[in-house]
Point group: C2
Chain length 339, copies 2
DNA sequence: TTGTAGGCGTTATCAG
DNA sequence: CTGATAACGCCTACAA
């Protein structure tokens, strides 16, 4: 029986020696894929216990050529909506015995690429991601070229060959806007972060425009706030609070909606009396503010969960699928009930 | 020159063949640790480009016996404060060329253990974690036994042998409470989630008690709300809103504080007129509510960052360190200025 | 400066 | 049912 340095971890070889069997038997006993005498299995278990053996995934992965690890890329963990989808991915992964390797893009295309490159170097089994623009993304093109399976979350691609788990952003944008119109608001605008960095925003804007059109309203204003900077520049501020200000706002995310509510409050405007607001995402804090935030509630956790499960299917060879989950217009004090 | 299936990824061997050198040379050229003729280096680079080669970390890790991957364990990603620290860890890890493997415990000791076990099976280089109780944790005992380096975040252990990056929770709890007292509030209570699941809460409670004592106030009420359930039971509700209700509340987290504010509002009480509130964490949304939330602002991102950097040091053999970062009592509308 | 070769821990194949 | 052995991709003595 080989002796080992105390510092180094026991390997399958040590277990074999301890149990008095071959390493092949240990491997089989551990993975339970092959027939094993229950007597032998018991000996192996005992040896595992005695040595505190823990299988080294690295060895397994090298052998297998792939890992039961999913790479996850989100724009930012600071936005609770993304953190929530990661939690969903994580829960599903844990149940399936998979691990989660995480990276974030900070909404930048270059970081997006670097992060993916990094995740791929780990030979992840697949990826779950949220990218800037799902239909034209060099990153995704690269993945397609390599045959690396992935599923998008939040992104809602037009292309049928790109798997996704999301809600219908256009319809949701339309519903949010209709709700504002139903509440009697006619001077409407949409507020987005950085339009260029979010295909979702564009889709929501399209729904916004459609709802305006069907109501015969022509004005389709778009106000960009940017993601990080809490400061809003003068012109933008005037757009929101000046004499021609909108009486209803559809915000592309809840975080933006909360920022806008704070900004309006500072300017002495009242929500919803002066300005009605509908957000998008359904982050939990939206229920706690005063007034509470009316919003399009996405099932973020479930989206992450479903994305992971579909990823497993893709890895097994299933065809791409665009999973559309139900959303809900969650009422809130920021949007008074229809007249 | 060997041919390869198109589906399988190029290895160092393919690069060697393409460049007309040995695999050892390729390895050296890639890692730049050994002297290489610039001519050779160029050939290797060209081959790498031509083949789209990406080094397989699994092979490297197996060989090295360790991975440049940090395991991260947090109670939940749903609380922005933890998500923020993860973002900090991640940023630092990315800069150092490390990867981040993530898991969460859902505030449950058993899950905590399973998650760690899982992370260890990846042969992570070290861990950054937030546990229920840093001074008595079977999980941490196990890590100590194995000599696996780790650094705690948010936890503030008494034991000097456990590395951490945190703020001084006792002092912060004291400062928050002093601020309530300075605002003229004398009937005070502290609100926590699940006390048992958070050593931080206990430390903050201690600071709360100390501030009361030094002001000659005797009542040291503690109100537990639980983490998830948005519903609050009748007795607890009466404690907060009944005739003997506190006029000042110190909440153990901002999320709790926001829940309490909503609850008080429902009950027809005004913040801060009827009840002043100070939270803890400094999550960004706290600035956006009406009234805004006075709180102890922790440098969560920086804490994650520092924790990771200290972990690297620990891995290199540095001694454990309890890093104490500065916090700030951030004023807000929920706490009127002192009389 | 470069090449050869062995082995990291695991699983799968092929014999017994 | 079990054992011996050959990879998986990479790095690093040791030789040249």
């Amino acid at each position: 029986m080989r002796t080992r340095a105390a510092s180094s971890k026991p390997t399958i070889r040590d277990v074999a020696a301890e149990a008095g069997v071959s390493i092949a038997t240990v491997s089989r006993a551990l993975n339970g894929r092959a027939p094993i005498a229950s007597e032998t299995a018991k000996k192996v278990q005992a040896a595992v216990q005695a040595l505190g053996f823990r299988a080294n995934r690295t060895g397994r992965e090298l052998r297998a050529g792939t890992s039961r690890t999913v790479g996850v890329l989100v724009p930012s963990l600071a936005n609770p909506v993304f953190a929530e989808s990661v939690a969903g991915i994580q829960d599903a992964a844990r149940e399936a015995g998979w691990s989660v390797l995480i990276a974030s893009s900070a909404y930048e295309a270059e970081r997006e690429n670097q992060a993916i490159e990094h995740l791929l170097s780990h030979r992840v089994g697949g990826l779950v991601l949220t990218v800037a623009d799902a239909d034209r993304s060099a990153t995704l093109d690269g993945l397609d070229r390599e045959g690396m399976p992935y599923v998008l979350v939040y992104n809602q691609p037009d292309r049928a060959d790109r798997s996704s788990a999301t809600i219908d952003n256009i319809a949701a944008g339309r519903d949010a806007t209709r709700a504002l119109i139903a509440a009697g608001r006619t001077r409407l605008a949409m507020v987005a972060g950085r339009f260029a960095a979010s295909d979702r925003s564009k889709q929501r804007y399209r729904g916004f425009g459609e709802a305006l059109a069907e109501a015969g309203l022509s004005q389709v204003a778009l106000i960009e706030l940017g993601f990080d900077a809490p400061e809003v520049d003068g012109p933008t501020r005037r757009l929101l609070t000046g004499p021609d200000r909108p009486t209803g706002l559809f915000c592309s995310t809840d975080l933006l909606a909360l920022r806008v509510m704070a900004l309006l409050r500072e300017a002495g405007l009242r929500v919803p009396d002066d300005v009605a607001i509908v957000g998008f995402d359904g982050i939990p804090v939206g229920r706690l503010t005063a007034p509470s935030l009316a919003t399009i509630a996405q099932p973020s956790h479930e989206m992450g969960r479903r994305a992971f499960l579909h990823l497993l299917a893709r890895i097994e060879g299933a065809a791409p699928e665009r999973i559309l989950l139900p959303y809900e217009l969650r009422p809130g004090g920021s949007l008074p009930p229809g007249r």
